[in-house]
């Protein structure tokens, strides 16, 4: 690198996390300006930051309970559904019998949005945790089955051949080559799954729930209590971002060997 290049690089402003933080702060300021500051937007259509803050304080432990219920449903359905999806995906990839038997069912169910099943789920499970977890898990399961079968198909044949010619028996090839090779794709399936689980679970809570952020939002919207509606949305967003951050951190560590890390 020539000295001229270095000086140029020093003068140029380099992007970094500060850009993201800046944009978030800008949105918050614009929000305040447009609502509290100038009242360009009527508070009913979009509540002020102060009113959302006030709603959070008023709700207090109820909010925590609703958020906790939603988060627990998400985590259970996400991890459970994904784990089952990986297992079934592996079975399908391993056995042509299982593939032919399950593929039509999965391909038919996959495009159906899980929320379309809410009426049935309420009939079958009632409005408690079970039905919501079932729906969230179903969504994650579908994502993961497809991700896993595709991932197995993408494992280069040379890896298997190399392992065999190094003396690995079929079970060892499976355990020590196939499984580690598909980990990056499994983790990216997990990321898609967590966002899906939040969407499906909150939607299911809209329709019927005794506790949960979805219930909170729906109840508040009946009385046009828009600060609480917005508060619920923000809480879902924050939880989803946190879960995604943890997933990303973990997967970055686990797949630090992968070329794009």
């Amino acid at each position: 690198m020539t000295p001229r290049d270095t000086s140029r690089a020093r003068r140029r402003i380099t992007p970094g996390p500060w850009v993201s933080i800046g944009v978030v702060l800008l949105v918050l300021v614009l929000w305040w300006v447009a609502t509290s500051g100038t009242e360009w937007i009527r508070p009913l259509y979009f509540p002020t930051p102060e009113s959302v803050g006030a709603a959070a304080t008023t709700l207090g432990s109820t909010l925590a309970k609703d958020a906790g219920a939603t988060l627990l449903r998400v985590l259970v359905s996400w991890l459970g559904g994904s784990a089952l999806g990986v297992v079934v995906g592996l079975l399908m990839a391993r056995s042509t019998w299982v593939m032919y038997a399950l593929n039509p069912l999965i391909e038919a169910l996959r495009p159906v949005p899980p929320v379309a099943l809410i009426p049935f789920v309420i009939l079958w499970f009632g409005i408690g945790d079970d039905g919501k977890i079932f729906l969230g898990a179903l969504g994650c399961f579908m994502v993961m089955v497809v991700n896993t079968t595709v991932a197995v198909g993408n494992v280069p044949t040379v890896y298997r051949q190399a392992a065999q010619s190094l003396g690995a028996q079929p079970n060892t090839v499976y355990r020590r080559v196939l499984l580690p090779a598909i980990v990056p794709e499994i983790l990216s399936g997990l990321r898609i799954g967590s966002a899906l689980a939040f969407a499906v679970i909150v939607a299911a809570e809209f329709v019927g729930a005794d506790v949960g952020i979805g219930r909170l939002i729906m109840q508040a919207s009946r009385t046009l209590n828009t600060p609480v509606v917005l508060l619920g949305t923000v809480v879902v967003a924050i939880m989803a971002v946190l879960v995604d951050q943890v997933t990303t951190r973990v997967s970055r560590h686990v797949t630090r060997w992968a070329a794009t890390g």
Partner: protein, 256 residues
């Protein structure tokens, strides 16, 4: 130990649309500790032959034996270095090289045994803990070579292993391979379409031709075991090279 006998070997690939004679009536004896290069244009069945020896494919007719035992599938006695990058990216260099001994139960998981000896041989002692993505293509090939050697094979099969490397890296790899073989002799079958590579490395060069895919001729390389890169400038080398090139061009034109 590691003598290969190939007798009346043929391989036909059949699909509903057509049948392809990938290899016709091939006979070849490769002595223990011999370095045999197989050259030929693409489509002449040289990779098919190697995959048959490796046991990834089974012959349509004929047989292959190694030390008298018929090849019936892949085995640790026949290690393979592929043209494609076959080093496991999720394992460190050290773990890659330890893979063979570990899966054969000769080495406990996490133990390294004589892994470092082989890393030394290929010149990668300083990179034991690195992941393959941190290495260049040439270095990954060295890992592959060390891994194949460490698995303790009788026979080493190389399928255009340096085909994707630039000239200088390729020459460095030739010398590395020579060094490793000198330290620990093995029977070697090396497939390439590079005549120079075949003449520089091989004790014998097998020329294969397409349509029909078969062994055309076998050339004894007269240069002895010690060769340096400048040998390529000698009259003898160039004569052999031209002779093989002519043969390949002829059969290629016939087929094309």
């Amino acid at each position: 130990m590691g003598a290969i006998e190939i007798r009346n070997l043929a391989k036909v690939f059949s699909s509903s649309r057509r049948t392809t004679h990938a290899l016709n009536e091939t006979n070849l004896s490769i002595g223990d500790g011999e370095f045999v290069c197989i050259v030929g244009p693409s489509g002449c069945g040289k990779t098919t032959l190697l995959n048959l020896i490796a046991g990834f494919l089974s012959p349509t007719s004929g047989e292959i034996t190694v030390d008298g035992r018929v090849v019936e599938g892949p085995s640790a006695e026949r290690a393979v270095v592929f043209q494609a990058d076959a080093v496991f990216p999720w394992l460190t260099v050290e773990q890659n090289v330890a893979f063979g001994p570990q899966v054969q139960g000769r080495l406990g998981r996490g133990a390294t045994g004589d892994v470092h000896h082989y890393l030394d041989l290929v010149g990668l002692a300083d990179f034991a803990k690195a992941f393959p993505k941190e290495l260049s293509g040439g270095m990954r090939k060295r890992v592959d070579l060390a891994r194949a050697y460490a698995s303790g094979p009788k026979v080493l099969l190389l399928d255009e292993p340096f085909g994707a490397l630039d000239v200088f890296t390729k020459e460095a790899m030739w010398l590395a391979l020579k060094r490793v073989i000198k330290a620990e002799p093995k029977t070697i079958v090396f497939v390439t379409h590079d005549i120079e590579e075949a003449l520089f490395l091989g004790d014998r060069v097998v020329v294969m031709t397409p349509r029909p895919a078969r062994v055309h001729s076998v050339i004894e390389v007269p240069f002895g075991p010690e060769r340096d890169l400048d040998i390529r400038a000698t009259q003898e080398f160039q004569t052999l090279r031209t002779q093989i090139a002519h043969t390949l061009r002829e059969v290629h034109d016939d087929a094309a």
